[in-house]
């Protein structure tokens, strides 16, 4: 019965228009499954048994990716209720907790973010401990470092959005670092080299921190900037780099072997 239904389904035009290969019963078809799917083709066609062992990878990269997906879905849901405007941001956060159905959504998003930071570090740790950063995987290690920074930036930019005392002061303190950036931060080394007739060209009203905050202080403009960074700019960059990251695992010969 079930087999008949399956055969019928695989014979329909809809099925055939989507899947251009036979059932994955032969090695060739199994290869085709991987190669003819835009998502699967990022993966190696074959994986070493050792690479699949949980004790080797801890599936930490996979867990990080899973958490990224959780964050994307819950984040989009939160966006339906949250307005990045100083007058309403905090109230919207409160409403998400108290009035909106499934107030746990915000907690999932927040705990997921914490978990993702932890798993990305653990993933890096396992890659390091298994020596998987060695040639030919140096480039993927480099991509990974950027992904790590993007993950941390996602947490940092999201931190401001609740717009409570903790948020504003944490971002105030955090972005103060940008003041000390060499040359482009107004308190950084080399900033005073850029002068015209004793007037500093890099000052608190035009340095890198000003561009980041949209002002001298964490304010309305900062909230909007961080919202856009948090919801669009950083996730898009992370998605592109993740695609490259997974593709490179395949191109570098699949997951590395045990030591």
């Amino acid at each position: 019965m079930i087999k008949q239904a399956g055969d019928w389904l695989r014979g329909t035009q809809v099925w055939k228009s989507i899947f251009r290969h036979g059932p994955p019963t032969t090695a060739r078809n199994r290869t085709m499954v991987m190669l003819s799917n835009v998502f699967l083709h990022l993966h190696p066609v074959r994986a070493r048994a050792s690479g699949i062992r949980l004790s080797f990878t801890w599936c930490m990269g996979g867990l990080t990716f899973f958490l990224f997906l959780v964050e994307a879905v819950t984040g989009i849901l939160l966006m339906f209720y949250y307005r990045p405007v100083a007058a309403s941001a905090y109230m919207d956060i409160m409403a998400l907790r108290e009035d909106v159905p499934l107030g746990i959504m915000r907690e999932i998003h927040r705990w997921g973010a914490h978990a993702m930071v932890i798993t990305v570090w653990l993933h890096m740790f396992r890659v390091f401990m298994t020596g998987s950063y060695k040639p030919p995987r140096e480039f993927n290690w480099g991509i990974g470092v950027v992904l790590l920074v993007l993950t941390l930036l996602l947490s940092f930019t999201g931190y401001l959005l609740p717009w409570d005392q903790l948020a504003v002061w944490a971002i105030t303190v955090g972005t103060n670092m940008a003041r000390a950036h060499p040359v482009v931060g107004y308190e950084g080394p080399g900033a005073n080299l850029l002068q015209v007739n004793g007037i500093a060209l890099v000052h608190s009203g035009d340095d890198i921190r000003y561009a980041l905050l949209g002002g001298r202080f964490v304010g309305e403009a900062t909230l909007l900037r961080f919202y856009v960074l948090h919801c669009i700019a950083v996730p898009v960059m992370a998605m592109v780099l993740m695609a490259v990251h997974f593709w490179r695992v395949r191109k570098d010969g699949g997951i590395s072997g045990p030591l």
Binding site: A27, V173, H203, A211, F217
Partner: protein
């Protein structure tokens, strides 16, 4: 190991240039073919020397990269707003007589300064904690500034004495404006620990 269903075929790597996929006709004959199909006379082949091809490529890429570069500059410029809705950096406070001896006036805290009449001069103290940038509170009963973030404490003159901060609060330029009021100019600041606050610019005699 080898998959029997996939035919072994020799793979050349790196593949030779030009790639070994079949090309119909040659580059030279292709325009003829198009012309023949369209039923018109083939255009005379464009004569291009190696040198002029190089020049054209140089120009083309040069123009393209310049455009991209200028576009990037525009992108960076876009991040700097022309109009800021923050409190102005230079503003009047009150006539100097209104600041009595050994007091801290909190009226302009929203502009980022305390006006203090201390040690014989009137100074404008920055409200930014020199530890990590929170805003301390002025505690009149204890006569000190106390930061809620990590507990740094400062005397009335802004000099630190407790907590993690490594240095005193900064001071801004002050002057008597044409209106007789004390003006604060936050574009210029001094640091006590660097000895830059001795200047008259940063404190007028009370």
């Amino acid at each position: 190991m080898a998959d029997p269903t996939v035919k072994d075929r020799p793979v050349q790597w790196p593949s030779p240039w030009p790639y070994d996929f079949p090309v119909e006709g040659t580059a030279a004959s292709a325009p003829d073919k198009v012309a023949r199909v369209a039923g018109v006379e083939p255009a005379p082949p464009v004569q291009m020397t190696r040198r002029s091809a190089f020049g054209a490529a140089f120009l083309g890429w040069g123009a393209f990269l310049t455009a991209v570069g200028v576009g990037k500059l525009g992108l960076v410029r876009f991040l700097f707003p022309n109009v800021s809705f923050e409190e102005p950096q230079e503003f009047p406070t009150a006539p100097p007589e209104s600041f009595s001896r050994d007091t801290v006036d909190e009226t302009w805290k929203k502009n980022g300064v305390w006006i203090a009449n201390v040690e014989g001069s009137i100074i404008a103290i920055s409200t930014v904690c020199t530890h990590l940038g929170c805003t301390p509170n002025w505690l009149p009963s204890e006569s000190k500034f106390k930061c809620p973030c990590h507990g740094s404490g400062y005397y009335m003159n802004g000099v630190n004495f407790e907590g993690p901060t490594p240095r005193p609060l900064e001071r801004f330029r002050v002057y008597i404006g044409d209106d007789g009021k004390l003006w604060v100019d936050k574009n210029m600041k001094c640091q006590v620990e660097q000895g830059t606050c001795g200047d008259r610019k940063f404190g007028i005699p009370a």
